[in-house]
Structures are given as C-alpha cells and as structure tokens.
Amino acid sequence: MYKSFEFTKKIKSYLLAMIVIGAVLAVAGIAMNLDHTHRIWANVLLNGFYFTAIAMSAAFFVIVHVLGESGWHTAVQRIPEAMSLYVPIGGVFMLLVLAGMHDIYHWSHTEHLDEILQGKSAYLNPMFFSIRTVAYILLWSVLVLWFRKLSLKSDSNYDLKLFNKQRGVAGVFIVLFAITSSTSAWDWIMSIDAHWFSTLFGWYIFVSTFVSAVAIVIILLFVLKSMGYMEHVNDEHLHDLGKYLFGFSIFWAYLWVSQYLLIWYSNIPEETIYYVQRIEDFGFLFYANVVINFLAPFLILMARGTKRKLNWLIAAAVIVFLGHWLDMYMAIMPGSIKHPEFGILEIGMTVFVLGVFLYAFFRNFAKAPVVPENHPYFKESFDYDNIR
C-alpha cells in the first residue's frame, strides 16, 4: 500500500556526483586558502555543525511528537527519523573540528589568555572541550540509534508495549538533549567569541536548526513525492508542516529579537561587541539574515493556501534552509575569520556535506518502510483536517 523507497542507482549516482563536485570544489577552496586556515576550519565547523544539529533537531521533531501523543505526524515520521541517523556521520566532522581548534577558538591558545579567559579556562580548555565534543557525539548517536531501533521493531509486530518503550526512550532523549543542545551550542559556537556570553544563545541556535530541520523534511518530502513516493501524504500534512515552518520561523525571529533587543537596549560593551562586529563587518548579511529567515517565510506562509500548496511550501522551505545556513555563518564567521568571505570553499564544503547528508538520508530511508504502519495512532493521520 505504501510504496517502499528504493535507493536506486540513479539517485545514488546523482548524490555521489554531488559529493564529488562538492569535494573537488572544497579541495580547490582549501588549496586556495592554505594561508588562511581560519577560513577552512570555520567552514568545517559551519557545515559540520549545521547538518549535525539539523539531524538532532529532526530526531527532536519525532521525539516531541511521540511524547505529545500526536497522530498526524506518523505519515511523515520516517523522514526525520532517517535524517536523524546522520548524527554519527556529522559527528566525524565535529571531531575533525578538534584538529582545527586553534584556528577557530582563540581561548585554546592557553599560553596567552587575558584575565577573563583565564577565569573561564576551567571550562574552556582544549582537553575538556574535546571530551565534551566526543561525549555529545557519542551520546547523541546512541540516542538516535536507540530510538530508531525501537521504531523499526514496531514494523514487524504490533505491540503497545513497544510503543510505551518508545515513549520512555523519548523521555530520556528529551532530557539529555535539553541540556546538551544548549551546552553544545555554547561550546562549539558561542565560545568562538570567547569573551561574549548570552544566556539565550543555546536556545536560539537550537530553534534555528529546528526550523531548518522542518524545512528539510518538507524539501525531502517534495523530492520523494516527485519521485512517486509518499503519495499518502496529503494537503493536511503539508498544511501542518507549513504551520511548523511558519510558526517556528516566527519563534526564531522572536528569539533573535529578544537577544538583540536586550543587548541593544542595555548597550553594555561586553555584549554589544558581538553585534557591533557583525553589523560593521557583515552589515548587509546581518540584516539579510532577518529578512530571509523571518520576513520571507512569514509573508509566504501567512495565507492558508500557500501552506497547502507544495510549490509555495517548497519555496519557503528552501529559503529557510539557506537562510539558516546564513544564520550559522553569521554566528561562526565573524568570530573566526573576522571578515565576510564567500567563494568556492564555502560552496564546495556545503555541497559536499549536504551531499553526504542526503546520501545518508536516502540510504537510511530505504532501509525501512516509509511509514510506521503499526504505530497505534497511525490511522489518525489520515482522518483529520485543519480548520478553514
């Protein structure tokens, strides 16, 4: 009834081509920037983090619906589930970042630190940082694989206990992720601007990647549908995904404004330095970030109809996906490379990692039925509608 996805050679070859092109461009970019290793490592971090975080956010998407006893999401659940399996692969990029630590994190130069950084060195030191990085990757990998295992089990037998167990795992997942999503954002991103701090930062980064994860779910849904899969996904599902994209884009903007407004308002140099740097050196991109990630999805998806039309939806999703890549770029680059740089290095690296991400997704998506048919609320997903 639900057409199983086949990871065909054709798809494979497209993706491999993408990976290769990406790799070639990336290598070329690296070669051009050998005297500018900051930029290389910053790009590794950018893409490594962005897609890993998206994978974790996709897992979170599933988990939160499981805990919320939702039914509608079962129609698309397997997409984010397969996305989440990228975590161990993304982890490899993050481990790679450890090698380039000195080029990104200036606190890692333990020999000459000012007073404030010395004060932080109990937390920000290469050893502890590496330990945390490894721990996040391991922990997250275990969590996503554990849940996936239980999810797949339900395909073979209908057992309510299994479903309860899934909820148990989801509980563990959400607690651990609630803590590590923030701390990982502080570690990997916030500590680039080592003096700067913002309590909201962890949540801000999380919401940014979460919106992006929703956008990718929509994009992948579109891709799969255009290949003739996932035909059971109807307008109501699109509408709901659209609402997610719409709502969380607003929520992201809310957090962006909250952080910016408070820092703008108090105007304390230890905080404003973050924005001053971004506005002065990245001026156009700084404002573009808000326009792309807030105004675009807001205006596109405000109407009911656009959320239910795949074309509109996909347009918004692509904008949002690229927009949040920019958001991460704005979070990482000013602290590490100081001035905006964009070239084949950035393109290559992104295409390469995206290729790997997609390859991993399709591979994993092909390994299981496209829907969890034994999910107890599965049928609910096909008999509901959104109020007009």
């Binding site: 609630a178 913002s198 309590t199 909201l200 909250s258 408070l262 304390i268 008999d383 007009r388």
Partner: protein, 455 residues
C-alpha cells in the same frame, strides 16, 4: 475524525449530548450551597482588606511599603509578575492547544480562560498601585495634551501597558466569543423571565446556524493564531521590565522565553489547584478526568524543566561571563541573606515537578494538588528572588540594603486573592464552567461511552 481506540477516553461515564448540557448546566441551577456563600464571603472580606490597604498606600504614600532607596520594587511587582504568569494558562490552553489540536483542552479551557482574565485583572492592579502618584497614572497613555509630551516608547513599563491591556482585551474577546453559544444554551434552558432576558442579551442572538459555526471556527482559529504569539509577548515584555536594565540578575537574554515558560508553568499549576477543587465541588468529575490531569502535568514537567534549565543556564553563564557583578549576584542569590528564597524557588520549581515523571503521581489528584501548590509558591519566590535579591545588592556596596514587606503590601496581595476568588465564585455560578459546545464536538470520540439518541 478518527481517533485511535488506544487513546484513553477524556470523558468518563455514559454521555449523550443532552446529558452534557444537563451536567454542565446543573451547578447554575438551584440555590447556591453553603460552600459557595462561605467562599464568596471570605473572598469579599479579603477584597475589602485589600482595598483598605490600597487606600493606605495611596493616602499615605509608598512609604507604607517596605521598599527603600535601593529596592524600588518588592512584593508589589513580584505579585504583578506572579499574577500575570498565572494569567498565561488560559490563553495558552485555548489558543496554543487549539493550534496543536489537543482535544483535552475542551474541558478546561473555559474556566482556565476565566482564571486568566481574573488573574490579569489582579496583575494589572499592581503597576497602578505601585505608582507614587496613582491619580496621575493616566500620564502613561499617549494622549494629545497641551504640553505636547507623549510617552517614552523605550520604556518596557510602557510596553507593559500595551501588552497587558491588549492581552486582557483579546483574552476577554476570545473567552466571550467562546461563551456565546453556551450562553445560548443556558438561555434556552431558562423559563421566560428576567434571567432569560439577560442571558438572551448576553447570547448576542445566537442561533447555532451552520454558517455562524463556520465563521466562529474560522475566527477562533485565527484568534488563536494571534493569541499564541500574544501570550508569548506578554510575559516576554514583562521579562523586558527586568532584562533591559543593566542590573546583574536582571539583565540576561534568556529571560523572554524563560519567563514565558515559567508563566505557563505557574498558570497550569493554578488551574490545576482550582480545577481539582472545582470539579469535586460542582460534580464535574466525569468531565475533568485523570486524562486531563496527566496531560496538564506533562506540560508542568516540560515547562518546569525548561525553567530549571534556565536557572542553571543563568548560573553557569554568570560564572562563565567573568563579570564580577554577575558572579556576585548569583552567589548572593544562593548563599546571601535571601538564600532561603532561592532554595524554596529551586525546590518548588525544579525538584517537585520532576515527581510527575512517575505515572502514578501525575495521575493522582491528591498528589497533583499538593505539587501544584508547591509550584504556585515556588513561582512566587522565583519573582521575589529575581526582583529583590538582584536589587538589594547591585553595583555599589554602599547602597546595599534589605527588604521585608509591611502589612500593607501583604494586605494588597491578600486583596488580589479576594478579587480573584470573588470573580471566580461569581463565574462558576453564572456561567458554564465547561465549554458545552466544544465538549459535545469531541464527545463521540472522546467519551467512555457515547449514547446515541434518535433512529
């Protein structure tokens, strides 16, 4: 609409549509009981005491409060934030849960929204009373005047004026629009007379026409879509009251979402406290069941944990910042003269809700009642900790001081309880406590046993 049979029914007992009408209408009929009169009397006494305390404040001056040159806000603003927080559950339930299609909201949204409105009314009193010159309070409105002075749109307190009044207005509109069909139901149950005329007037001429229903649903959805960010904005702006400053312990960027989460947390706790009593008192146990309890308690854990994470984040970042003032502010919270307030807050808000991880506890009315009260207390202390312990020792040690409330401040707080409960007692007597039409709309799929009438 299909509902999985695995799901727990929300409404227990054998119900038909008319039974629902009957059950929910029942508390409004007959003579009110002793409990009701007793409660209303107590509430009115508290209200009277509060009004007296307000009179003293206005007549003699804010000097009758325990504030001083260092601590400009104490119980007053603590209570303001606390009440506003409580006023977040209703709209959260009716708007955000509507958007998330949570059916369990139907049994509790009406009373929760009522509580929201009453709580916001209580909250709104404080920013007025705490002014040194209440009679000139109208200065906060941007009205044209001969001096050409407008207002300061930079001020979060001004934002509050807009946020709270918009919130109150929209909440009342939302609540009342939901009430219209149910008032129609009451109207049609009444024998002709003055009472019927009054309800007829209040029902806005409701007929139950399918066209009206369609528009009503559409309006409700969009209103919910507007109310959802509005709920967020209100406590966000309340948090701006503190976070825009430079005071360590106040100025922190996590405040907006953390305040919102805390508000929903405390709001749910208050709704739980009251609903657990109310469902017993007016025999609505079939409609507010363990299923509702569990769902609400899950939100309590979620929001409570978010608040807990925010506490720890603040603490960690204070250390991480390397700023002496920040660091001192947080050490002082935990180990300074007001350490007890901090640890009450921590215990009540972070530790007690974690008990809801146990299914038995989150499905127990008694346990929930106790924990909900803990949360109410804890959230009050959270605001006290933020306001008083941040202010009492800020930048210049020469100005550090201590604060304790006077009877006047306590009196005003008691008075707001009086106001809240007076309104609540009147509400449960004169309005349907549960949204009759909404319950009926999910009755078929959500009741233990639906009795179908007709052919």
């Amino acid at each position: 609409m299909y509902v999985s049979p695995v799901r727990e029914p929300l409404i227990s007992g054998e119900k038909s549509y008319s039974k629902v009408t009957e059950d929910i209408y029942a508390p409004m009929t007959g003579k009110p009981g002793k409990l009701w009169f007793g409660g209303l009397t107590l509430a009115l006494i508290a209200l009277g005491f509060g009004l007296f305390s307000i009179f003293i404040t206005v007549w003699d001056g804010i000097g009758t409060w325990g504030l001083d040159r260092t601590i400009g806000w104490g119980w007053g603003i603590t209570n303001f934030v606390w009440w506003v927080g409580i006023g977040h559950a209703g709209t959260f339930i009716s708007a955000i849960l509507l958007l998330f299609r949570q059916k369990w909201r139907t049994s509790i949204n009406r009373s929760a929204e009522a509580m929201t409105i009453f709580a916001v009314m209580c909250a709104g009193l404080f920013p007025l009373i705490h002014m040194g010159r209440l009679p000139l309070g109208f200065f906060i409105f941007p009205y044209p005047n001969t001096r050409d002075v407008w207002v300061n749109f930079n001020s979060p307190l001004l934002w509050d004026v807009f946020a709270i009044s918009t919130y109150l207005t929209v909440s009342v509109l939302f609540w009342y629009m939901g009430l219209i069909p149910d008032i129609g139901t009451i109207r049609d149950r009444l024998v002709p007379g003055i009472k019927k005329k009054v309800y007829s007037f209040l029902s806005f001429g409701w007929t139950g026409s399918a066209r009206h229903w369609a528009r009503h649903e559409s309006m409700s959805l969009i209103l919910a879509g507007l109310a959802a960010p509005l709920v967020l904005s209100v406590h966000t702006i309340v948090s701006f009251d503190f976070a825009t400053s430079v005071i360590p312990g106040w100025h922190t960027t996590i405040f907006p979402p953390y305040f919102v989460s805390g508000a929903v947390f405390s709001g749910f706790a208050m709704v739980l406290t009251l609903m657990i009593i109310t469902r017993k008192a007016i025999n609505l146990e079939d409609y507010i069941t363990k299923a509702h309890l569990e769902s609400m308690n899950k939100i309590i854990i979620a929001t409570g944990s978010i608040v807990g994470i925010a506490y720890i984040t603040e603490l960690f970042i204070a250390w991480y910042s390397g700023v002496v003032y920040e660091q001192y502010a947080f050490v002082n919270r935990a180990f300074g003269p007001y350490w007890w307030a901090y640890w009450i807050m921590m215990t009540c808000n972070v530790i007690t809700p974690q008990l809801f991880w146990f299914k038995k506890i989150r499905r127990s009315f008694a346990a929930t009642f106790v924990i909900s009260i803990f949360v109410n207390i804890g959230m009050w202390f959270e605001r006290f900790v933020i306001i008083v312990t941040s202010l009492h020792r800020d930048f210049l040690p020469s100005s550090w001081s201590m604060y304790s409330p006077t009877w006047v401040e306590v009196g005003i707080y008691i008075g707001t309880f009086g106001l809240f409960f007076t309104l609540f007692f009147l509400f449960i007597r004169f309005f349907p406590v549960i949204a009759i039409a909404e319950v009926k709309s999910v009755l078929k799929t959500s009741t233990e046993k639906f009795i179908k009438k007709g052919k």
